[in-house]
């Protein structure tokens, strides 16, 4: 299975390459008042309005330092495309199935929720993000309330 990888703080994450439409640099976004703080805003992607989700906030990580521009990983979702804001883009990695393990139960709740499992790579671990659960905002927000 191939994964598009990216960095988020100390985390090394990946999503299935088939779900990724494109990766683009920081775009101007329009904030949406009253929306969940996880939603960073709306951006114009060639005439299409795309909701951007701050993956740091989604995973309960501290906000990005000022001046550090995030990258957009545009993924295909049920009703159109959605963009995930990440710190830095990594390579596309071909991971072997026998290196896969379900996520450890001691993972932080906000993270475990959206992590499918872990690939044991040489010298580091690749956490696999479940795209659909990342977009499932209302339920997760209620839990944390």
């Amino acid at each position: 299975m191939q994964y598009c990888t990216f960095h988020l703080g100390d985390l090394f994450l990946g999503v299935q390459v088939t779900r990724v439409q494109e990766v683009i640099r920081t775009q101007r976004t329009t904030p949406v008042p009253l929306a969940s703080p996880v939603i960073s805003g709306l951006m114009n992607l060639r005439g299409e309005i795309v909701t951007t989700i701050d993956l740091r906030r989604r995973l309960g990580l501290p906000d990005r330092a000022a001046g550090q521009d995030p990258m957009n990983v545009v993924i295909r979702a049920e009703d159109g495309v959605v963009s995930l804001l990440v710190d830095e883009i990594g390579d596309v990695i071909d991971a072997l199935d026998d290196a896969f393990e379900p996520s450890p139960s001691t993972l932080r709740a906000a993270t475990r929720d959206v992590i499918d499992g872990v690939y044991k790579l040489d010298g580091r671990l690749l956490l696999i993000l479940d795209c659909d659960r990342v977009l499932d905002l209302p339920a997760t927000l209620q839990e944390s309330a």
Partner: protein, 774 residues
């Protein structure tokens, strides 16, 4: 050619075309049959006959035997009507309408399953047959012979004589020669004789041909296009409009003359293209109205009333999606007029009106919108009865009802669960209805208004936009962002300069402005959107010149003023829906891309008004009855109080009493502070400490206490100040990390924290309850 036509799910193309054509014909039939009953014109009979004949022929060809059988007996009956051997009666019309329904059912079966249903329609066939064989009723008027010739094409000779090309004698001579054995045509003989030229015969033949086929048919000058294709074109034009807007904006700043010229041309062409594509989706409102004569006829028969329907402006055009959306609301209103509006013939005579009531439909364009009026000359509605009914149904309080004006009272009929009809009938239902009519119309950006005079009649006036995809909007600024407001909800703009900015007054903490003598509730956009916290005093005031911009909006018939920091421009915007993750945010109706390529949110006037609580409570604008019921259930009575500068709310049903204690009577029981109260020990919970909020209460101030009772135990909650008791729909947004708060809601236009009292008590009194349990 492929055998599958798109949209007909694998059905053969021929069958698909047959279905489309037949459905169109059947809609026309309904209308013609009702016409026929009132004015038995031979031309109408002939047209009905032809339609049924066509369906019969095709169904035979396609092998639909049931359909063929039903249409065959119908055709027989019609042919006797056409020949004047029978005259039209109500029975015959009803039977023919029943036949049309049967045909519709069979066609629906074919469309869904690809084959006819098993139902043989024996009773109907027998009925039609019996009617056909009935004794010829002596015709009240001579069968109209003058219409007959139009059935058969006129002989060529006759045409030539009528046009003055040949004389009767010439033609008679040619016919005589033909009868004598000449195999040539009359025309040929005349040309040979030199009476006329070959060209003239050709023209006459053409005329004869046209007569045979009924003139050039519509099908020759039009083509069928899949609606999906048109939708796609519409979307593309939407994109083009956006691109055009961007280029125009760019051009303005570039100052290049050639570019300016070209972009202006692009502008014009785009506008024309947009209009053209929009036109392709336009349909006359007649498509919906067509079925009303039948609805009115059937209903008035069922209620024993005499009702005539009049239509004006049938050819008024609307976007197809809008036509679809207004079909049900309009039908409901027409049914209402027939069932509840118009009185029985006897009652009408008593009142000095004609026995026959009239339902009038009127459609016309006005200022970029389409107005549809449905009026009747029936009993009208009594404001007094509406008031009484609304109070009886607990929809409003007696006090509220007493203070309402005529217009507000009338609008109560749009509340869920309202119906003034004394008896429930199976025709217009049980009071589920007007609220759905209203929500459906508002869902497409329209609004509905009612005018009535008791004893004279009622008129419903519906205003709807021409199209949904591209709408004119006003652009405003707030908190550094731009927002678009659809023009439909816009009433006017008010600008207060520095000297007049003080004209904003406060009623119990709610800002208002006197607009021409009436109090206009004000909603500060940045406050509702929480881009500015409620405690900051500045407001949407332009810092540079101290002006206040008020956009007066209409939500649900109630005007309110939206205060924004800037009013910039108007623009045509393309509405795009918000993604799933943002669906719950009611303040926004969608988003759009502006000329500079950035995204701007589209404000939903109704949503804003509801969030700020200016629409007067539990009025629901969701799309279903279930939503309405839910909203009614959400209407809660709240106790408002404050801690420091924060406003909080508590459900009043949880509150037993409000008390004020002298701080000197506070004692301690273990670690718990208590007071002696009605021979009991009342534990006190200092809410500010519990929630970690600041407090304005100083040592020695009297304690303001909300006494809360549950399960036989009482607790006193110490608060700073008690403000008010309000009743309203409570929409709690859960995104608070503070333990002891259920979330926050907008109450009286201000953001208010809603207390999670169980959470607070569980924590504050954990020790106490543990002690009690021990």
């Amino acid at each position: 050619m492929t055998s599958n036509a798109d949209g007909f799910d694998g059905l053969d193309e021929v069958v698909g075309e047959f279905l489309v054509e037949s459905h169109e014909n059947l809609d026309r039939l309904d209308q013609e049959l009702v016409d026929l009953e009132q004015h038995p014109e031979p031309a109408t009979i002939a047209s009905i006959f032809r339609t049924i004949h066509t369906i019969k022929g095709t169904s035979g060809f396609l092998g639909y035997s049931n359909l063929e059988r039903v249409t065959h007996v119908g055709e027989n009956l019609l042919s006797r009507l056409r020949d004047g051997k029978l005259s039209v009666t109500a029975d015959i019309t009803s039977a023919l309408l029943a036949m049309v329904d049967a045909v519709r059912r069979i066609l629906a079966d074919i469309e869904h399953t690809g084959a006819e249903g098993p139902e043989p329609f024996d009773a109907l066939v027998e009925l039609l047959d019996r009617l056909k064989n009935a004794q010829p009723v002596p015709a009240p008027e001579p069968p109209a012979a003058e219409a007959e010739p139009s059935e058969e094409p006129r002989p060529i000779g006759e045409i030539l004589v009528a046009e003055g090309k040949a004389t009767v004698a010439d033609v008679a001579e040619a016919i005589a020669r033909q009868e004598a054995g000449d195999p040539r045509h009359v025309g040929e003989l005349l040309v040979e004789k030199g009476t006329i030229e070959a060209r003239e015969v050709a023209e006459a033949l053409l005329a004869q041909q046209e007569q045979r086929t009924g003139g050039p048919s519509v099908s020759e000058s039009s083509i069928r296009v899949d609606v999906g294709l048109l939708d796609n074109l519409m979307n593309l034009v939407g994109e083009l409009v956006l691109a055009r807007n961007q280029i125009l904006q760019f051009t303005q700043s570039s100052g290049d003359a050639v570019l300016t010229g070209t972009s202006q041309r692009l502008n014009l062409i785009t506008t024309e293209l947009q209009e053209g594509v929009m036109k392709t989706r336009m349909q006359p409102i007649e498509n919906v109205w067509n079925k009303f004569p039948r609805v009115v006829r059937d209903l008035s028969l069922a209620c024993g009333k005499q009702i005539r329907i009049e239509m004006e402006g049938k050819d008024t055009e609307l976007d197809k999606t809008i036509i679809e959306a207004i079909k049900d609301p309009l039908t409901h209103l027409v049914r209402n007029s027939v069932d509840h509006g118009i009185e029985s013939p006897e009652r009408r005579v008593e009142l000095g009106k004609g026995r026959e009531g009239v339902v009038r439909l009127r459609a016309y364009h006005e200022g970029g919108q389409v107005i549809i009026e449905i009026s009747d000359d029936g009993a009208g509605m009594s404001a007094g009865r509406i008031r009484a009914k609304a109070v009886e149904r607990d929809l409003i309080s007696v006090e509220a009802a007493a203070s309402m004006g005529q217009r507000e009272l009338l609008n109560l009929i749009f509340l869920p669960g309202f119906s003034t009809a004394e008896k429930v009938s199976n025709i217009s239902g049980r009071g589920v209805g007007m609220d759905v009519v209203k929500t459906n119309i508002e869902a497409i950006g329209g609004n509905i208004d009612v005018q009535t005079r008791e004893g004279v009649g009622t008129t419903f006036k519906i205003k709807i936009p021409l199209t949904l995809a591209i709408i004119p909007a006003l652009l405003v600024g707030s908190g550094g962002e731009r927002y678009a407001i659809p023009q439909v909800s816009l009433l006017e703009l008010v600008r207060l300069d520095r000297e007049n900015a003080s004209a904003i007054e406060h009623v119990h903490g709610t800002p208002v402005y006197r607009l021409r003598g009436r109090l206009l509730p004000l909603v500060f956009l940045d406050q509702v959107l929480r881009t500015r916290s409620a405690v900051e005093p500045a407001g949407e005031v332009d810092d540079e010149d101290g002006t206040v911009n008020i956009v007066v909006l209409q939500a649900d018939g109630e005007p309110f003023g939206l205060v924004v920091s800037e009013i910039s421009d108007t623009a045509e915007i393309v509405v795009k829906p918000l993604g799933r993750t943002l669906k719950g945010v009611r303040a926004f109706a969608g988003a759009t891309i502006m000329g500079d390529g950035r995204v701007a949110l589209i404000l939903d006037a109704l949503g804003l008004a509801e969030m700020a609580g200016v629409t007067g409570g539990a009025r629901d604008h969701g799309l279903s009855d279930a939503d309405a019921a839910e909203a009614a259930a959400d209407r809660r009575t709240l106790l408002l109080f404050s801690l420091g500068d924060r406003r909080l709310a508590l459900l009043l049903e949880m509150v037993a009493r409000l008390e004020e204690f002298d701080p000197s009577i506070v004692e301690r029981a273990g670690s718990q502070r208590v007071v002696q109260y009605r021979d009991e020990i009342l534990p006190l919970v200092f809410l500010a400490d519990e929630l970690g909020f600041s407090t304005n209460r100083r040592e020695g101030d009297p304690l303001r206490v909300v006494v809360y009772t549950a399960g036989g135990r009482s607790v006193g909650l110490v608060v700073d100040e008690i403000h008010d008791i309000v009743e309203q729909a409570l929409d709690v947004q859960r995104h608070t990390a503070v333990h002891g708060l259920a979330g926050s809601a907008v109450v009286q236009g201000r953001v208010t924290d809603v207390l999670d009292i169980h959470g607070v008590l569980r924590r504050a009194l954990a020790g106490l309850f543990a002690e009690a349990a021990a």
